[in-house]
Structure formats: structure tokens, C-alpha cells
């Protein structure tokens, strides 16, 4: 076995043996062992060190690279979550987005980073319909040829054919298999043909629609030519919806913007987590200090603690959520009912450890009031551990919120929270194309909980005086 211990021992042996082999004379050896000269000023030196607990803590924390990265991630996430509604072009979390022409909800739109569908060059003539002052619904569909209609094919092309139908001329896609029934020699134009299926006749040999539906163009880009026709002034982007802001995370099954819902849900969940953490700290600290410091109450509070601690937390959560109406405050109340227990016991144990240290005894002998001892002597000792527990309380409160929503007692879908977003997304896992509705909230949720967890642990490590140099 080659442990570090063996290596060190061997190295020491080697160095000593080497020195012995050199066969030093007495003078040489004495030179190696020079006694330190007497220095009277050294006796005056005082042991001053500029050690500061918090500076040391932060220095230790800065050295933890993972925690720093997570801190940056968390700060960015939280800042973005709070600022998101103020950014331009955001949808409302609860607005159901409809297609403005048909009134149909924009259900389950896949995530996309842009609303631009295609760009057309200047001078393109489009048929348009005014939607509002800013937007026009445009397409280049001159008319629709229904199923089994006779039309005249005047010019044949490999991709596009020119047709005449009901007196108008336009282009149709040359699709042999499905739409067009062509004769043996299709290039020998003109001839009469039939449509097997419904066809669209375009004004140009280009499809400027979104799968047959109109696209949207900004009013400023269009010059009216009258008769419902418009000419594009410059290179114009045709958009899938009358808005420049895309559905970055797609839409849900009733056409609400998932992006807005995720951030709104994050705000709700963070708020719940934060309030629960604060209440946990307040109640836990108050009870814990009294429990630890006041000897007469120790027995009583311990018994009460045992009773409450034995009721499974889930049962309290479920019962309270049932009896009260589901709302944010119900959730907070239900979680606070049980969470302070852990904190209180923790504080109590810490207090008992430091209560009878000499400085506290001295303080007591000097006649300091108990409240002052508790708040000034004991509490500062516990700041780091309290902060750790608060940091860990936030992810676990968010986890409880997910749980409560999962069993159907959480917030209703009009108050988006990460819990109900995940719960909604969970119902769609069977169809692979809709999984983004689960994945996006899950990623945001995991980022938040993981960063809180890592930062909390790193901070606790840094705040532990054992790790200070």
C-alpha cells in the first residue's frame, strides 16, 4: 500500500540519510542550527490580525467557482423574471391569442424565435385586407379552385403552371400526383384540365401564404394600389401573426403564450418560496431562541414539537389546502404551518451549544437582559446557518407547490405557477411534438432550484469558521 503517509515518511528518511552521508563537520552542522538572536522588540508585538468573519466568508465563497456561476445564473434569472413584463412586445400570461382573421385560437404553436415567415422583394403585388392601423393580412391567392373544377392550363412549367379559371389568370403549383390531373402530353398547351383537390391560384409563381392561410405585413411597408391590392414598398417581411413578437416557447392548448406564462409562473413560485422562507425564518428563530434559551419552557416546547413533528407534513398540506380555498395565501399558510419546525429545532440545538459559553456567562453576570443576550450575543452566531436554511427553503417550497398542484389542490390555471405549468405539460407527454410545454417550465424550474441549492450549500461551507484560514 502506498499512501501519502508512506511517501512522506520515506522522503524524510531520505533527506536525513543524505545529510548524514555528507559527513558534516561540527562547525558546518552548527551553522545549520543557528540560534535566533534575542530581539527585545519581539516581546512587544501584539497578535493583531485583520480577520473579519464576513470578509473571510465572502473570500471563501468567491473561490467556489461553481457557486459563483450559479449565483450569476440565479441573479440573471431572477432579474429577468422581474423585468420580463416591462420588456417590449410581451404577451399577457392569460390572454388567449386568436388568429385575427378566423378567430380560431392559436393552439399548440411550436416554439419559434421569429414571426417572420418569408421576405418578399420590393414591388411585389399582394392582395390584402386591413386588420388594424398597423397590420394587413396579405396573401397572393387570386382565387381558390375547388375540387373537380374545370380550368384551362395555358402554360406548362415544371414547378408552376399558368391557368385560366373563371376569367382570371394565375399560377398553380404543378403537383402531378395529387392536385392536377394532366393529360399524357402535358406540355402541349393549352388544354382543359380538372382539379382533383382544392387548389389555390396564386398571382405570381410563388406561394406567399402560411400553408394556405394569410400572412401579415406591417401597414408601413405597403402601398395601396386600390381594389384590395397592395404593392410592397421595400423588402417586406411577411409574418405568421400580426405582431413582431414571436411565441418563443410556443403556445399552450388554448393559445396562451407559454413564454409569458413561464415567467409569470416563475414570479409566482419565487414569491411563494420567498415568503415561506421568510416566515420559516421568523417563526423558527423566535421559537428556537425561546426554546433553547428559556430552560423552563424546554420540556413543554419539546413535547409540542414531538406531537406536531409526528403528523406527516403531506397530511397537513392536503387537509389545509382542502379546507381553505386554493390560492397563493393558502399554499403559503399550509407550508408555513409545518416548515418552521425544522428551523426551530436547529436553532434550539445551536443555542444550547453556545448558551453557556463563557462570554454569555460573563454577560449574564454583568446583568444584561435576556432579550439583549438573545438578540445581541446569540443571534449573530446563527446568521450564516439561518441564511443557508432560507436558501434551501426556497427550492423545497417550490417543490411542495409542484406537489400540491400535482395532486390537484394547487393554484388554478389562471394564476400560472411553475407547478401548474408542469402539471399541464405532464398531461401532454404522450405526444412528442407537444413536449416543449413540459420541457420549458421544467428547465426554468430546475435552474432555479439547483442554483438556490448550490449557492446555499456553498455559502454554508464558506460561512463555516472551520473552513476559514
Amino acid at each position: 500500500m502506498k499512501g501519502p503517509f508512506e511517501t512522506k515518511k520515506r522522503r524524510l528518511e531520505d533527506s536525513v540519510n543524505a545529510a548524514v552521508e555528507k559527513n558534516l563537520s561540527r562547525e558546518e552542522e552548527d551553522a545549520l542550527f543557528t540560534p535566533a538572536p534575542f530581539d527585545p522588540t519581539a516581546g512587544e508585538k501584539t497578535g493583531y490580525s485583520n480577520y473579519s468573519y464576513w470578509r473571510s466568508t465572502f473570500r471563501a465563497f468567491w473561490h467556489n467557482r461553481t457557486a459563483l456561476v450559479m449565483l450569476v445564473v440565479l441573479v440573471v434569472l431572477v432579474a429577468f423574471t422581474l423585468l420580463q413584463p416591462l420588456l417590449p412586445g410581451q404577451y399577457e400570461a392569460n390572454t388567449v391569442n386568436n388568429n385575427p382573421l378566423t378567430g380560431i385560437q392559436l393552439q399548440n404553436q411550436a416554439p419559434s424565435t421569429t414571426t417572420s415567415y418569408m421576405t418578399v422583394p420590393a414591388g411585389t403585388v399582394l392582395l390584402g385586407e386591413k386588420l388594424n392601423d398597423d397590420w394587413y393580412a396579405v396573401s397572393n391567392v387570386a382565387s381558390v379552385i375547388k375540387k373537380r373544377q374545370k380550368f384551362t392550363l395555358t402554360q406548362y412549367g415544371p414547378d408552376w403552371c399558368t391557368v385560366e379559371y373563371n376569367g382570371t389568370t394565375g399560377y398553380v403549383k404543378n403537383n402531378f400526383q395529387t392536385s392536377l390531373k394532366l393529360p399524357e402530353d402535358p406540355e402541349n398547351t393549352p388544354y382543359q384540365s380538372y382539379s382533383n383537390f382544392q387548389l389555390q391560384m396564386y398571382t405570381e409563381p410563388a406561394d406567399m401564404t402560411n400553408g394556405g392561410e394569410s400572412l401579415y405585413a406591417a401597414a408601413s411597408d405597403l402601398t395601396p394600389l386600390g381594389d384590395g391590392r397592395f404593392e410592397t414598398a421595400g423588402a417586406t417581411e411577411l409574418r405568421t401573426m400580426p405582431s413582431r413578437s414571436p411565441f418563443l416557447f410556443g403556445t399552450n392548448n388554448i393559445g396562451q403564450d407559454l413564454w409569458a406564462r413561464v415567467w409569470s409562473g416563475t414570479r409566482t413560485s419565487l414569491w411563494i418560496g420567498f415568503v415561506v422562507a421568510v416566515f420559516e425564518a421568523l417563526i423558527g428563530i423566535a421559537v428556537g431562541i425561546v426554546w433553547g434559551y428559556v430552560r423552563a419552557l424546554d420540556r413543554l416546547i419539546t413535547e409540542i414539537y414531538n406531537v406536531i413533528d409526528n403528523i406527516p407534513t403531506t397530511i397537513i398540506l392536503i387537509l389545509v389546502s382542502y379546507i381553505m380555498r386554493p390560492s397563493i395565501s393558502t399554499l403559503i399558510f399550509a407550508m408555513c404551518l409545518t416548515r418552521w419546525l425544522g428551523m426551530a429545532r436547529f436553532i434550539r440545538n445551536q443555542i444550547i451549544i453556545i448558551r453557556d459559553r463563557d462570554y454569555n456567562l460573563a454577560s449574564r453576570c454583568l446583568g444584561t437582559e435576556p432579550t439583549r443576550i438573545m438578540l445581541r450575543n446569540l443571534l449573530p452566531y446563527l446568521v450564516s446557518v439561518i441564511m443557508l436554511r432560507m436558501a434551501l427553503a426556497i427550492p423545497s417550497a417550490i417543490g411542495s407547490e409542484v406537489f400540491i398542484t400535482y395532486i390537484g389542490l394547487g393554484l388554478d390555471v389562471n394564476t400560472p405557477s411553475l407547478g401548474n405549468l408542469i402539471n399541464e405539460g405532464r398531461k401532454l407527454v404522450t405526444s412528442a411534438s407537444l413536449r416543449y410545454q413540459l420541457i420549458f417550465p421544467a428547465i426554468v424550474l430546475s435552474l432555479i432550484t439547483i442554483s438556490f441549492y448550490i449557492i446555499g450549500n456553498a455559502f454554508a461551507d464558506a460561512a463555516d469558521p472551520k473552513n476559514h484560514v
Binding site: V20, Y406, I422, Y453, I454
Partner: protein
């Protein structure tokens, strides 16, 4: 020659160390051989598992539970008498009974605060007389203390009552007997899996501090602890089933469908076993007796298993009885995700339907499990670690 003296001393030290074989392990004088206790402990752990395996083919769920409890009971009675913990145990049991009483009373009162609309499927269509008749039938018109007294009287006659709305008229025991076994099988399997995977992981993490296993384990533990269970359960189900090419739902007779539920259920406990074992082992490694043993030349592997691991495992043992018992409760997430007909969602379900007798019975069972599990854990600790004493010492607090 000071240096040569030092050198000769060093040589003498290492020489003696190299030449002499380690003396045989001395038997500690005065200490009792812990063998009979070992039998009791292993019986305690092995019996329920063995019973579960023996009975896993049959449908006799009740017998299974009873056997488990019997195994636990026999083991513990033996240990308690052996270690003279009778007084302590009785005291704890009395305290537990009081706690249980308070819990049941609180839940009983809370349940009576539920809106009466919840007791009916078609509340709007009924007139006042019909509502009153139904409420009287359910025994809800009497004052609460009277209802509670009736409940207690029935309880002491061994009657948990019958379900009123979940499955009207069926005795609660038979509902539980039907649902508990499957939860127990899955729970026991996942517990075995988490012990088998979690403990080696924790030991490997402690041995290779800041090595590969430590990093891997830390990432795993952070992920499992920080991310809410629902999220990774759903993702395991989503991608696991499509990767294995099986249906998302659980089928009792197809063993492949058992894999994912058992695996996902064990993840949380793997992480916690690994985390705690690593922490306790590192604590143990830094102790003086380990340094001495190392200086004495005990091989590292032997040191880890004979000294560090054994001592580090003691504080973890106290959670084992509780987790064994908790398998009865099942897991809400797992059972609803895979449609397993177990105990997991039962409590939520019956609270939702305001089936008061069922809620009371279940809360009582769950609380009992928690209390008994804690007690057994404490006793087991005292049995295994002779340093732990429940006898109060004067002047120490």
C-alpha cells in the same frame, strides 16, 4: 551528532515496524460479545424481506403485512429484553400513544370543518330534508365530541369502520389489504436497490475525495435533491418508456414494467444514503483512532471496511425500520404516473371525496408508521452502538 541520532531513531522506528508482524487482535476484556444481538438485528432486517419474497406470489397481502410486523416485533422484543431497554421502550410507547391521540383528534376536528357540499355528488338537486337524512346517516349531525367518542369506542373494539363514499360499505381493512401489497413490493424493491447502489456510491465518494466518484456523486446528489421529484419522475417515464420501447403504464404481470417505477422511486434514497454515508465516513476518517490505525500500518482497504464503514453506518441504521414501514404508504407520484393500483394516491383521493372514516383510518395508520418507525430506529441504534444510552445522566444537558 544530532542528525545521526535522528536518523538512527527513524531507522529503528521503521525497522521495527517492518519486521514485527502486527500482534493478533486482542479480545477486549470485560466487553460482552455482541453475537446474540447480531442475530436479533439480522433477524429483524431479514425476516420482513424474506416474508415479502416468500409471499410475493400469493395474493395474501394481509398475511404479508402481519408477517412483516411479526418479524419486526419478535426481533425487537428480543433486543429490548436483552439490552434492558424495557422501561425506556414503555415510556416511549406511552408518549407515542398520547401523540397519536392528539393527531387523530386534530385531524378529526379538521375533517368536520369541511364544507357539507363535499359529502354529496348532487348537492344542488337535493332538498333540505334529503340532505339532513344523508348527514344523519353519516353521523355528522351529532356534536363533534360525541362523534369522536363513538369513533374511539369503535376503535377499541378493533373496528376501523367502513368506507362511506370511496367504495361505500366496504370495510376499510379490506380496501387497504387489497391495495397495500403492491405498494409494499415496489417499495421493498426500490429500497433494496437504493441500498445496493447508494451505499457503494457513498463509500466510493468518501474514499476518492475530490476524485471521479466524488464529483459524479456530488452532481447526482445535487440534481436529485434540488430538482423537484415530480420533474425527474416525469422525464424518466417519458424518455425511459420510449427508450425501452414499453408502454407507459404498469402491468403487474409484465416484469419489464416494474423496472422504471422501482428505479425512479429509489433515486431519492440512493442520493440520501450516498450523501449521509459520505459525510459520516469523512467524519470517521478524520478521527484519531483511524490515524493511529493508519500509522500502525493497517491496510487502507481493511481500514475502510473494518473501521470506517462500520462506524459510519451506525447512524444510518436508524432510518431503516422507518423506511421499511413507509413502503406501505406508497408514492403518490410514481403510482399515479404509472397507474399502479397501490396506496399512494389513496389518501388524497379519500380526502377529496370527504370519506371521513377512510381519512381517519389512513391518517392513523400513517402516523403510527411514522411513530413506530422512529421508535424502532432509536432502539436499533441503541442496540448496535453500545455508547448510546437512554438512561439520563445527572447534571448533563
Amino acid at each position: 551528532m544530532r542528525l545521526s541520532i535522528l536518523a538512527s531513531q527513524l531507522a529503528a522506528f521503521s525497522g521495527r515496524h517492518g519486521q514485527n508482524k502486527r500482534p493478533p487482535e486482542e479480545s477486549r476484556p470485560g466487553s460482552k460479545q455482541p453475537k446474540p444481538l447480531g442475530i436479533g438485528v439480522s433477524a429483524l432486517l431479514v425476516l420482513p424481506v424474506a416474508a415479502a419474497i416468500l409471499l410475493s406470489g400469493s395474493t395474501a397481502g394481509v398475511k404479508l403485512i402481519l408477517l412483516m410486523l411479526l418479524g419486526l416485533l419478535v426481533g425487537f422484543v428480543y433486543i429490548v429484553i436483552e439490552r434492558r431497554l424495557v422501561k425506556y421502550t414503555l415510556k416511549r410507547l406511552l408518549g407515542s400513544a398520547l401523540t397519536l391521540f392528539i393527531i387523530v383528534a386534530v385531524v378529526f376536528i379538521l375533517l368536520r370543518q369541511m364544507p357539507i357540499e363535499g359529502y354529496f355528488d348532487n348537492f344542488d338537486k337535493l332538498n333540505e330534508t334529503q340532505v339532513n337524512v344523508k348527514l344523519k346517516q353519516l353521523g355528522l349531525t351529532q356534536p363533534i365530541y360525541k362523534q369522536f367518542w363513538d369513533f374511539l369506542v369503535k376503535l377499541f373494539h378493533g373496528d376501523l369502520g367502513s368506507s362511506t363514499r370511496y367504495s361505500a360499505g366496504t370495510p376499510i381493512t379490506s380496501i387497504i389489504a387489497k391495495k397495500a401489497p403492491i405498494s409494499i413490493y415496489i417499495g421493498l424493491m426500490s429500497m433494496a436497490l437504493s441500498l445496493v447502489l447508494g451505499i457503494p456510491l457513498g463509500a466510493a465518494m468518501a474514499r476518492s475525495k475530490s476524485g471521479f466518484w466524488d464529483r459524479f456523486g456530488t452532481v447526482f446528489i445535487v440534481l436529485i435533491n434540488a430538482v423537484p421529484a415530480a420533474v425527474y419522475y416525469i422525464f424518466i417515464q417519458m424518455y425511459g418508456t420510449s427508450w425501452m420501447g414499453i408502454s407507459m403504464l404498469f402491468d403487474r404481470n409484465n416484469w419489464v414494467t416494474w423496472i422504471l417505477p422501482v428505479f425512479s422511486m429509489s433515486l431519492g434514497s440512493i442520493a440520501s444514503y450516498a450523501m449521509w454515508l459520505r459525510r459520516y465516513m469523512l467524519d470517521e476518517i478524520n478521527k484519531d483512532y483511524i490515524r493511529l490505525a493508519r500509522a500502525k500500518g493497517v491496510p487502507s482497504r481493511r481500514l475502510m471496511f473494518r473501521h470506517v464503514f462500520r462506524n459510519a453506518f451506525v447512524p444510518m441504521i436508524q432510518y431503516i425500520p422507518a423506511s421499511l414501514l413507509y413502503t406501505v404508504c406508497g408514492s403518490i407520484y410514481i403510482e399515479s404516473l404509472y397507474s399502479i393500483p397501490g396506496m399512494g394516491g389513496l389518501l388524497v383521493d379519500v380526502i377529496g371525496r370527504q370519506d371521513n372514516p377512510m381519512v381517519q383510518a389512513l391518517v392513523m395508520i400513517y402516523s403510527c408508521i411514522g411513530i413506530v418507525g422512529l421508535l424502532l430506529g432509536d432502539l436499533l441504534m441503541a442496540v448496535i452502538d453500545p455508547r448510546i444510552s437512554f438512561v439520563k445522566k445527572e447534571g448533563v444537558r
